[in-house]
């Protein structure tokens, strides 16, 4: 049973960042802007968060309340991610530039900028931090709940709950609020939305900025539980989040499902040696095979599930007020 808990606990480290970033991508695409620069925005967010934590830990600031320090880092990451995504918003919405090109340039710029800054200031590209104080070994009260407590409230990070909260808020915003419905309208048929008085430019700006904030947040959420240093790389998670978003058909709950599906297999591949019967198979270079499993599984599920794409109809097309 311990193995099961371990797999679940590990999988959460993959699920939450994928979920948050994919939700970010969803907000941008719902408004009609393809944000392929999620990877780059994640890098910016992770960098800002890690630099902040590094500086504060060195100074001994907030050493007694690490969770507050982490939350401050998360907020900073979200803000910087949002600012960075404004590069996409301005070019894609106001200047009507090609969204794929802009996204690609963000992906190139982000790691270059952060490593440049790191090298220029410290001569090395790695920035170290100590993740240990952020770990919640067992949450009071909740950790004692059988099963769920073991999965969600032991060896956990506060980011898990923030990620789940974002899922709930995103679902409500998208389905139940005027803002969410207007946002979706701008991605489906911006001319129609404009004709009933919705400001398409404003909506698309909101969509992109939300995606920037969530991707920046996702960057630091991904780094904290899985490493002790950051060197301008989030291992392709921005692209994976894009895949999770498409897998989830641009719907929050389905995106969550897709992230869980992918994360479970991913965790399986990283802990297989601890699982009795899998280790007993004793395949040479089994690591490479298990690493492949989440990707193959995703493709198989996609092949059987997605006949009809639910992509926003006007995504990727710059909105021109004059066009009919």
């Amino acid at each position: 049973m311990d193995v099961v808990y371990f797999v679940f606990q590990q999988s959460i480290y993959f699920i939450i960042p994928l979920l948050v970033v994919a939700l970010g991508g969803m907000f941008a695409e719902k408004s009609g802007v393809i944000n392929i620069g999620l990877e780059g925005i994640m890098v910016i967010g992770a960098f800002v968060g890690v630099v902040f934590i590094n500086a504060m830990q060195k100074a001994g600031f907030l050493a007694s309340s690490p969770q507050l320090l982490l939350i401050l880092a998360l907020i900073l990451a979200a803000i910087l991610g949002m600012i960075f995504s404004a590069l996409l918003a301005y070019a894609a919405i106001n200047l009507k530039a090609d969204q794929t090109i802009i996204g690609t340039s963000l992906n190139m710029l982000a790691p270059a900028i952060v490593i440049f800054i790191a090298r220029a200031t410290t001569d090395v590209k790695q920035i170290y931090f100590n993740p240990a104080p952020f770990k919640i070994v067992s949450a009071p009260f909740f950790g004692d709940i059988p099963f769920i407590g073991d999965i969600l409230f032991k060896n956990a990070f506060i980011t898990t709950y923030i990620g789940l909260a974002i899922l709930i808020i995103a679902t409500i915003i998208l389905k139940r609020t005027r803002f969410g419905l207007r946002l979706s309208a701008c991605g489906e048929h911006p001319q129609a939305a404009q004709s009933v008085g919705v400001n398409v430019y404003k909506m698309r700006w909101s969509g992109v900025l939300i995606s920037g904030a969530l991707a920046g947040l996702g960057g630091i959420i991904y780094i904290i539980p899985t490493s002790i240093s950051f060197a301008g790389d989030v291992a392709g998670y921005g692209f994976l989040a894009l895949a999770v978003m498409i897998f989830g058909q641009w719907k929050p709950i389905r995106i969550f499902g897709a992230a869980v599906f992918f994360g479970l297999f991913k965790a399986l591949s990283s802990v297989y040696s601890g699982i009795g019967f899998l280790a007993a198979l004793d395949i040479a270079n089994a690591k490479d095979l298990y690493n492949m499993v989440p990707y193959i599984a995703t493709m198989i599920v996609l092949a059987f599930s997605s006949r009809k794409s639910r992509a926003p109809k006007a995504e990727g097309i710059p909105y021109d007020q004059g066009a009919r």
């Binding site: 392929i36 070019a91 090109i101 710029l109 440049f116 490479d288 493709m299 092949a303």
Partner: protein, 413 residues
């Protein structure tokens, strides 16, 4: 006396104006050509990128900014005493990203986004490695067969993406990303499991056997001491072929038509599923070839080293660098030759400048260039509109007011 002088000067003035008008007319014609407009807009993006890069250098370290920037601009030539070596290296490093750039650009032209060049590159490389170690019986054709194997493997990887897109309506971006990782781990699994190929002591493959390495066609005696080989010529040749296929053949037209409008193409009688699959397959084949040529490269032939591959859990940069190359070349195969050369030029310059400034400055510059090139096209249209408006206004003025000599007199005196 005075009159004569005046007449002479008037005549002279007229001649000058004529010549000037001729030149102006030439530029006017040139500036109306689509290609020229595109070129200017891209050039503007490049200049903007370089300026921002320079600014970053100044902010970073004013005392070294000029030296560093100058080094980036000419650094690709390497040691000034033997610039031919530097140029040879430049061509050598341009080869893989030229091919992956062509791969991404070809897909763009047919309305698809090939983000899977990295995976296609790896499987192409792996197939070439196998022929290099097992295909001794192909004799002098071994490197050709190995390159073809790379093409075939890359084609297969693109083909799968195409089938998912055409028959299952699954976005090519998601399958290509998945296949990148599947390719990475498959290649590592296969190579690590083969004792003839994999040297577990060095945790990399053995060197590619000498008889299956690419020939250099005498290029290395021109560019002495560099790694250059036949690969760059193959890449340029392929760019020309792609240009002809895309702009002069029915096949290319069909592929592009499906990219513009899938439904309309179907009604026009084009087999749109086949087109999508072939487009992705060809794009994959190009990246596969990039991987094959990369690993088969002989290195500096005198040193007789050859290359090897270290299986790591990282996707190759050549795959992702194809995207900016294609974007800067606006997906035109011929332009991609130059954009690959340009981006490699900067990268080489940055490589030789590392001791002065962090090498990441190059990616910053390229990123900015790509960013500006995205609305360079738009900028081009705005510029064109401005020029036509000015001309129209001028034409109106010319028509409404009869040409007077007073203006000329005024200018003369």
């Amino acid at each position: 006396m005075e009159g004569l002088e005046k007449m002479n000067s008037n005549q002279f003035k007229e001649n000058v104006t004529d010549t000037f008008n001729d030149i102006k007319g030439f530029f006017k014609n040139l500036s109306q050509k689509q290609g020229f407009k595109t070129f200017t807009s891209v050039a503007l993006a490049v200049i903007a990128g370089l300026l921002v890069g320079f600014l970053v250098l100044i902010i970073n370290n004013p005392s070294r900014a000029f030296q560093g920037f100058g080094q980036i601009l000419i650094g690709a030539f390497g040691d000034p005493l033997s610039p031919m070596t530097g140029i040879g290296e430049w061509l050598y490093y341009a080869t893989p990203i030229m091919l992956t750039g062509l791969s991404v650009g070809f897909a763009f032209k047919t309305g698809l986004f090939n983000i899977g060049a990295a995976g296609q590159f790896l499987v192409g490389q792996c197939a070439a490695i196998f022929i290099a170690f097992y295909g001794g019986f192909f004799g002098p054709f071994q490197w050709i067969v190995a390159a073809l194997a790379g093409i075939a493997a890359g084609f297969l990887w693109g083909f799968i993406v195409g089938v998912f897109k055409a028959y299952l309506n699954i976005n090519e971006v998601i399958t290509a990303i998945m296949l990148n990782y599947i390719g990475l781990y498959t290649v590592n699994f296969i190579i690590k499991g083969n004792a003839l190929i994999y040297d577990s002591g060095r945790t990399r493959t053995f060197k590619i056997p000498e008889n299956s390495r690419l020939p250099d066609l005498g290029l290395q005696s021109i560019f002495k001491g560099s790694n250059v080989d036949i690969g760059i010529l193959i890449a340029i040749l392929i760019a020309v072929v792609l240009y002809i296929v895309l702009s002069k053949t029915t096949f290319g037209y069909e592929l592009k038509a499906v990219g513009y409008n899938r439904d309309a193409s179907r009604y026009a009688g084009i087999n749109e599923k086949k087109s999508i699959i072939l487009s992705m397959g060809i794009a994959g084949a190009l990246s596969g070839l990039a991987g094959a040529l990369n690993i088969l490269s002989p290195g500096v032939i005198i040193n007789n080293l050859g290359k090897d591959y270290a299986p790591e859990n990282i996707l190759p940069a050549a795959g992702f660098n194809g995207i900016p190359v294609a974007l800067l070349g606006l997906s035109n195969p011929i332009a991609i030759i130059f954009s690959a050369l340009f981006i490699t030029f900067l990268q080489r310059g940055g490589f030789y400048t590392q001791t002065i400034v962090p090498i990441e400055i190059i990616d910053i510059i390229i990123g900015i260039v790509i960013y500006f090139s995205a609305f360079a096209l738009l900028f081009r249209n705005v510029l064109a509109k401005l020029i036509t408006r000015r001309r129209e206004r001028k034409a109106e003025l010319d028509n409404s007011e009869p040409k007077s000599d007073i203006d000329n007199e005024g200018v003369v005196s």
